[in-house]
Symmetry: C2
Subunit: 403 residues, 2 copies
């Protein structure tokens, strides 16, 4: 039976929640203990021309940099993500989100490649001990207080320029590939458009080459609960109560938008959140899917910052690859062979817009390959089911450029 109504629910919520946020344990994993490092740079000027006296971002790496310093794969992260793409920080720690494809002998083979991932500016999870970022929650050296909404607006291009500076600092001037999921895909397009002489391959996963107006509208929908929370207070809340309810509501929207209906039907059906609490009898009585989403959102909100969320929304809305005048110009600037991976049932980045992205990249002859990641999870298939594309990724990375 596909759905069951008015049936009480005694299932353990924990396993469902785990299934929402993680993809299970891969067969083989990146084994060395991962160390989070910090990159600091002074006097950064944003794409928009605003100065930031000091930028600090966390980063981690897997594998070893070769002598020629040309075996580098950059993995920028998604909207609600961090630079923890593979391995774990301790024996008991959680594995990175793409651990299934990054490691010894895997498609992103740490025996061959030096894989670098960097926490974005205005990273959402600023409250996590393993995240280092600079944004509205950081101290403004001019005032000694958190920036709040006085922090300069930053763009996807700023995230990429900071990564570029870190690589320059490490003596790296060639990038074998940039590969990222969702907002990580936007950074991958941006890398290839901004530094076409440096980037040799690009693998954007579940992301299109520009923010289209439907996405711009949805990003605004994601953000609106934060502004409605009276504790948000125009972004000035660091000395008082934080807008936890608004932030959780925003994260709940993101969480659901990144899924699709088969997941909800299989995981929850029409089960109630609690036995003897018929949703028909009270507004307090809810369905299991609602309670699970609330729990996940509350958990995610605990290490997140509301202003950082708003800055991420803005950065994504502004996105055009390479900060060009138009999406067409930005994507035409890409010279690196491109492997675009879309997800079945993706409700955030639509296939029709991926077609446009492909055409814009191909407009001056740059080759684009495409594949679809199958699964019931919508947009999240790009994170949770990436291993389904393991051989395509391996082949693409092994290919000599121009081949």
């Amino acid at each position: 039976m596909l759905t069951s109504a008015r049936v009480t629910c005694g299932v353990a919520m924990a396993s469902m929640l785990a299934a929402i946020v993680a993809g299970g344990t891969p067969a083989a994993a990146y084994e060395p203990i991962v160390e989070k490092k910090t990159f600091t740079m002074k006097d950064y000027t944003t794409v928009n021309g605003a100065p930031i006296p000091e930028v600090r971002v966390g980063w981690e790496a897997y594998g070893s940099l070769n002598e020629a310093r040309d075996n580098v794969i950059v993995i920028p992260h998604f909207f609600s993500g961090t630079s923890h793409a593979a391995g774990r920080y301790s024996e008991e720690g959680a594995r990175g989100y793409w651990d299934s494809i990054i490691g010894s002998g895997k498609p992103i083979d740490t025996d061959k490649y030096y894989v670098i991932s960097v926490d974005s500016l205005v990273n959402l999870n600023v409250g996590s001990a393993q995240v280092v970022t600079t944004g509205p929650a950081s101290i403004n050296p001019e005032t000694g207080e958190p920036y709040g909404m006085d922090f300069p607006i930053v763009e996807i291009g700023d995230f990429v320029r900071v990564q570029r500076r870190l690589l320059a600092n490490l003596g790296i001037e060639k990038v074998h590939a940039v590969m990222g999921a969702s907002m990580g895909a936007l950074q991958a397009y941006d890398w290839a458009a901004r530094y076409p002489d440096m980037v040799e391959r690009v693998i954007p996963v579940i992301g299109n080459g520009f923010a289209d107006p439907f996405l711009i509208g949805w990003l605004d929908i994601w953000a609106q609960p934060i502004r409605l929370d009276p504790n948000w207070n125009g972004g000035d809340y660091y000395g008082g109560d934080r807008p936890k309810a608004g932030l959780a509501a925003a994260l709940k929207t993101v969480t659901l938008h990144a899924q699709n209906w088969p997941w909800a039907q299989k995981a929850f059906g029409r089960k109630w959140a609690a036995k003897d609490a018929d949703p028909a009898k009270s507004f307090d009585n809810r369905y299991a899917v609602e309670a699970a989403l609330d729990k996940v959102a509350k958990d995610r909100a605990s290490s997140a910052d509301a202003n950082h969320f708003l800055y991420l929304v803005k950065a994504n809305q502004l996105f055009i690859a390479g900060d060009a005048e138009t999406p067409e110009a930005g994507l035409k600037a890409i010279d690196a062979p491109t492997l675009m991976l879309q997800a079945q049932g993706d409700l955030v980045f639509f296939p029709g817009l991926a077609d446009q992205t492909q055409q814009m990249i191909e407009s001056d002859g740059t080759p684009v390959a495409r594949a679809q990641i199958p699964g019931d999870r919508g947009h999240l298939n790009g994170v949770l089911n990436i291993q389904s594309q393991a051989e395509k990724i391996r082949d693409f990375l092994n290919r000599t450029v121009g081949e």
Copy 2:
């Protein structure tokens, strides 16, 4: 060029907004002036067993009831709709939402059929002069104050049972067809499941036969901004400031969810909301699509009620046709031949779930036909582009049952 970035915007917003909320003027229209009538019933008991001392709902009709009283087509309305399906209340008034298919010589031919539409209980647009409904904004006769959240929870089945009582009052015991869009489709399934001996044909448009958990989750996302608005105050706001911001945010979510990306790309591209107001320069500077959605949402909120929105969300979450134990049982109870019309790019009711609905209705041999309404508007295609299915609807209504 499909999109244009960083280009200032001087276009008239008014025409875009009109395109969002209406479908343009049909070639021919229902010409007689429509009169809104009121149906009052005492001592109604809900599906859930709760008493409502007095129920009042508005209704309107097009065409004439024949002597046999068997030429009736019932048109229940969608979530944010009213009973105004065709014609207009005055020479200058707005035409009903399905005026393109209801009228003399049209598929729902008012020369043949008597078409009835009824305002739902807990109708969203309680502030409109042309809407009559009973819900949390109504006066509780026990207290002399608005019910607020003390109003009983009502279900889709309650909307249908009230319509059934109105028809009984008019001496109608046979229904030639029930046809509705979105929440109107849910009522159409419910009519056919609840009164299988009475309903001869059913045409559910852009709606599936049960609330699946992904929809349940989205309905909760729609509702959450209302609860975040401090003016909502647990539903007790009728004597003070109303939760306008939360209600507008809720309606903005509904408005965007009912569209799809090609509409946004054609109507807005990446244009700015105002000339010289680059969204990269300030959080106050926005894109045209955001400003348009805000304007529509604010307009829609002006005649809407926040508690009514929450009650509608609950009714939709609870939906199983005929108030059966399971979706399977509810849809199996339907005996009327069914024409399901889905919309291209519908992000609210998905084709895969329409397949399940079809299978459940067909499980005991009831015939189901299907067709897709094309267009760029996602879910809204079912309202705005319904005339594309004119001949299918006409043929289905003309067919002798059992043929």
